[in-house]
């Protein structure tokens, strides 16, 4: 809510009368402020008791992730979404291509696979239900329910037919006036909590802790986010030894550039990514280049009303891995 609205909206007027004043003063003060504004372009007065609500903790790096981590794929992808109703939709999705199997050695192992996925979505302002099931029996379910105006419950579950491979997570979100807090319970005795607070109209700080029961591991992390209409800077530090920084600059309505830096102290891994995001009338083009020698791009071109062509390419020069994919999305 907070930062996407601020990036998309026009810059605020230079003068804003303070909102919560008794009627008598309100007659007098806006005139004074306008005089000041016309005279020197003075900065607007900050109402420290009325700060905006920050973005949710997991969406801290949302703008950077949108530009730098597009959904690249290899193979053929066909998605069809059929709206039966304003709120209810069915989706059919076919994928044929190679999926990468994680391997211990540096070789890339690709397994050709194909699947058909059926899904049903129900989107209501207060209740959102999304379910997807694949031909091999795996099911992905997401539920988001607004219990009250400020409290929301989110459930995310991935269920499989194989025993001990299923995962589930419950999240309780509480949204305050200028803060957000979240409590998570997951399977394998995972407990986590995070909190983010606005300290100024542009700056917010947050922290998170988690505890994994079975492995008796716990961690703590801190994050900060500074955003204006034109740019977003975020920083994250975690006790697992990861430091992440990101910077997104919006050059114009159509173009934004992003960069990201990550340092992992445990594995002494450093990587940096630079990317761009062009949102044009008929298409959306995102590209990125990495210090690991990976170059990737994703093009989504709207051919016609409701038909979108997808072209994806990812070239890893170091590991000599070339992935190209194409697809079609029909429906909204």
């Amino acid at each position: 809510m907070g930062s996407s609205a601020s990036l998309a909206a026009a810059p605020p007027p230079p003068v804003a009368p303070p909102p919560a004043l008794p009627a008598g003063l309100a007659q007098v003060l806006p005139q004074k402020a306008e005089e000041k504004g016309n005279g020197k372009g003075a900065p607007e007065k900050v109402d420290w008791l009325d700060l905006p609500c920050p973005v949710p903790y997991e969406e801290l790096q949302r703008e950077a992730l949108m530009s730098l981590k597009p959904e690249l794929f290899e193979g053929l992808r066909f998605d069809f979404m059929k709206m039966l109703n304003q709120r209810f939709a069915l989706s059919h999705s076919v994928f044929m291509g190679s999926m990468e199997v994680p391997s211990q050695s540096s070789d890339i192992i690709k397994v050709p696979s194909s699947h058909y996925e059926f899904g049903a979505n129900f989107l209501d302002p207060k209740l959102m239900l999304i379910g997807r099931v694949l031909t091999d029996g795996r099911m992905n379910a997401r539920v988001k329910c607004d219990l009250t105006d400020n409290l929301a419950l989110k459930i995310h579950a991935q269920l499989t037919n194989e025993p001990h491979f299923s995962q589930g997570m419950f999240q309780f979100d509480y949204k305050g006036k200028d803060y957000r807090s979240q409590f998570q319970i997951g399977n394998n005795a995972f407990y986590g909590a995070n909190y983010i607070q606005s300290v100024s109209p542009h700056l917010s700080f947050g922290g998170e802790i988690f505890w994994i029961g079975h492995q008796r591991k716990s961690g703590i992390g801190f994050a900060a986010r500074y955003n204006t209409d034109k740019m977003v800077v975020t920083a994250q530090v975690a006790s697992t030894g990861i430091v992440g920084l990101s910077y997104v600059q919006k050059i114009s309505e159509k173009v934004s550039l992003a960069s990201d830096f990550m340092y992992n102290q445990m594995s002494r891994d450093v990587s940096s990514t630079f990317g761009y995001d062009y949102i044009l009338r008929q298409c959306r083009l995102r590209g990125k280049i990495d210090t690991n020698g990976v170059v990737g791009a994703l093009l989504e071109e709207r051919l016609n009303m409701g038909v979108t062509l997808l072209l994806s390419a990812e070239v890893d020069h170091v590991k000599k891995d070339y992935k190209f994919g194409f697809g079609l999305t029909v429906g909204e």
């Binding site: 039966l84 109703n85 209810f88 049903a120 979505n121 379910g131 379910a141």
Partner: protein
């Protein structure tokens, strides 16, 4: 005296095992409940979404579920 203490000790041991078996019972029942809940969610979530969707306004027809138009 000694017999009283030994009786008390036995009493505590019996209570201890009773508590432990109560805990085991609770664990077993909760495991069973989680397994059943997982199976119900696995098979029943998507039909639940479809039923809720078909009953929302404006009500879509059954043939719209199957036809691609």
């Amino acid at each position: 005296m000694a017999s009283k203490i030994s009786l008390k000790a036995k009493g505590k041991a019996v209570k201890g095992t009773e508590e432990r078996s109560a805990e085991k019972c609770v664990k077993e029942w909760s495991n069973w409940a989680m397994k059943k809940a997982k199976v119900i969610a696995h098979y029943g979530f998507i039909p639940l979404v479809i039923i809720i969707g078909m009953n929302s306004e404006p009500k879509p027809h059954i043939y719209q579920l199957l036809s691609p138009v």
